[in-house]
């Protein structure tokens, strides 16, 4: 398995370009090609969960000079999330994308986006990370505008400009780090920074990274692109953007850089917790009043990513006891995986409803459980899951985050005590608001009176229903099998993130 680690980016890249060549001869095969490569990637990523941490030297060059690929608990977990959600979105696309033209081009962009996200996750080199970040972002700009309608192009252009600003900020930060340390290898940068005091240059780099990666993760002051971009994209792409892209490019990158390169730090922790709390509140308040189904889900993405950010922020705090910090971090990581599952399920079911009814306005729908029972059931399960109703998966991760903040408030001294309590209360309040918002959604879409014109609707096609069922089963399964998941996946990811020393030692070890 170790020798084939670069295939996580090489395989989708190869298929992306091959796909366009083959599609000149026959249009039919690109479905199978794209499905096949995503199935292989998903299988490989599941296998990676059971592999011990290792490093891979690209081209056989030793670490400080060559590009280092790193595999540990965290990257395995995120790879599994990316590739499994990717596979399910791909299966959903096979029928859904028949309503668009140029399907082979869609698959090419999709695979490029997956290649970029996998690249960001596996790399241990700053510049390599930037390049893959750009590959994934540029593919997603094109995918957001794939419908080429007025509204979609406007959203795509807005996303392009803001995403470009974010990428520039990241590159600027990397350039500053390079000028300070003379290396781009992430373990090596971490090693060099250990001998430096906090100075203005480092603070500037931190600000650039929080802005750049924060914009990709759509934390609140940088969230303006998301509510336009996610609804405009085709439904499987909304699921990928909201379920995976903002996590792989934003949260994963920020976690890797902050935990492993800069190390736990009071200031970053305070900033991330504040941004997280702000995202939770603003996102959910904006979401309540939306009438567009997908736009409401997009605002909820902002709000739910706030939970992840706030959990990571607590994990970065050096002043609370290590056990509580680790608990908060674990909650954040668990919520990241859960959000990928239930939010992609919600976006795919919204796509399924749109495919049959032709509208995204939730007040024009109603009573759909009588006509589309499977889609309605999966949508309902995912709604309960995002609102944090036991025994679904969202309940556990929210519970852990809230419990971690209350514990932090009880067992720490000084001013921060009050802040932890406020953040805990905000988390509870936002969970409540989310529940209200999704109960309203179910009332107006799934239950209620069936409008006259939808009387002859049929259930969505088979290839659209299967991913929905799998995702709904995952929502329930992860919730019930929580103790097992906690002991295997989450502990490994959390330990990998907290263990800065062994990350720096990768430099010597390999």
């Amino acid at each position: 398995m170790q020798g084939y680690y670069p295939l996580f980016t090489a395989l989708p890249l190869a298929m992306a370009f091959l796909n366009l060549l083959v599609s000149k001869l026959s249009k039919k095969v690109s479905d199978y090609f794209a499905f096949l490569v995503m199935a292989v990637l998903a299988g490989m990523s599941i296998k990676m969960l059971f592999v011990q941490p290792f490093t891979y030297q690209v081209g056989g060059w030793a670490p400080p000079w060559g590009i280092l690929l790193v595999s540990d608990g965290l990257s395995s977990m995120i790879l599994a999330v990316i590739n499994i959600i990717g596979l399910l979105s791909m299966v959903f696309s096979i029928s859904y994308m028949n309503t668009y033209t140029a399907k082979p081009k869609y698959y090419t962009l999709f695979l490029l986006m997956v290649a970029g996200m996998n690249g960001v996750v596996i790399t241990g080199d700053f510049f390599n990370m930037y390049v893959f970040l750009e590959i994934a972002s540029i593919a997603s700009y094109a995918l957001v505008g794939f419908g080429c309608e007025r509204e979609e192009l406007e959203a795509s252009f807005k996303y392009l400009i803001l995403g470009g600003v974010a990428s520039t900020a990241v590159l600027f930060g990397i350039a500053f780090l390079y000028s300070m340390t003379g290396t781009l290898n992430m373990p090596d940068v971490a090693h060099q920074l250990e001998f430096m005091e906090m100075n203005r240059a480092i603070a500037f780099v931190l600000a650039m990274f929080i802005m750049g990666f924060g914009l990709k993760a759509s934390t609140v002051p940088f969230h303006a692109w998301l509510p336009d971009a996610h609804p405009s994209a085709p439904a499987p792409i909304s699921a990928m953007l909201s379920g995976v892209l903002i996590k792989a490019l934003g949260v994963y990158a920020i976690a890797r850089v902050m935990f492993h390169v800069f190390g736990p730090n009071d200031m970053i922790s305070a900033i991330m917790m504040f941004l997280g709390a702000l995202s939770m509140l603003v996102g959910v308040i904006m979401a309540v009043g939306q009438s567009d189904f997908k736009r409401m889900l997009a605002y909820h993405s902002i709000s739910q990513m706030g939970y992840v950010t706030i959990g990571l922020g607590l994990g970065l705090n050096p002043n609370v006891s290590p056990a509580i910090a680790a608990f908060g971090l674990l909650g954040g990581l668990f919520h990241l995986a859960n959000h990928a599952v239930f939010k992609s399920c919600l976006f795919l079911s919204s796509g399924s409803f749109e495919f049959r009814t032709g509208t995204r306005n939730k007040f024009e729908m109603g009573g759909l459980i009588r006509r589309m029972p499977v889609t309605s059931a999966t949508c309902s399960i995912a709604s309960l899951s995002i609102s944090g109703v036991p025994p679904f998966n969202g309940f556990w991760s929210k519970l852990i985050i809230i419990a971690a903040f209350i514990q932090a408030a009880l067992y720490s001294q000084g001013d921060s005590k009050v802040w932890f309590m406020i953040y805990g209360i905000i988390a509870v309040f936002v969970a409540f608001m989310t529940l209200i918002s999704f109960v309203r959604l179910q009332k107006s879409v799934i239950f209620g009176k069936l409008p006259e014109r939808f009387a002859s609707l049929r259930e969505a096609p088979f290839s659209m229903v299967v991913p929905l069922i799998i995702l709904a089963a995952l929502c329930l399964g992860i919730g019930i099998a929580y103790p097992f998941i906690h002991d295997t996946l989450l502990e490994a990811a959390k330990d990998a993130l907290l263990d800065k020393v062994s990350y720096v030692n990768l430099l010597i070890g390999s």
């Binding site: 020798g3 670069p6 090489a10 366009l20 000149k24 030297q57 081209g59 140029a102």
Partner: protein, 162 residues
Amino acid sequence: MNRDIDKEIHNEAHGMTSIVKTVARFLMGIIFIFGAYIILYGHLTPGGGFAGGIILACGYILLTMSFGKEIGLRKLTDNWASILDNTGALLFLVIGLLGFTAGSFFLNFLGKGNIFDLFSAGTIPLNNIAIGIKVLASVFAVFIALSIFGRVVSDYVEDEEV
């Protein structure tokens, strides 16, 4: 250089004046040779696949701008630009994947040869050629997409017919 280009020189119907066309025809060969030189000597002198590919693409852009889009697209159609674009990217990746045969992704598995020889440095000249093809085709494709195509892109129409 080429018979149908010669015929177009005094044709005022499309393209610029015959002064521009004559100079462009004279420069074209030099530009292409220089681009190929930059690509092939990329591992020895400054430049390489990207810079050389841009120069080659500029040759085609000069042709299109001075002689009009009919001649430009006759020399390199948008379909072939797309094929070359994908082929260049695939070639680069295949060279990287061939490194697996010797043990590692992107391993330079060919003989390195003597320093400052044209045939030296293992896979690097091959990588330069692949990048050159890719950049030539994609820069030209971007140019024709921005300048020539109107609302209807050629293979968009193809798709609707299917």
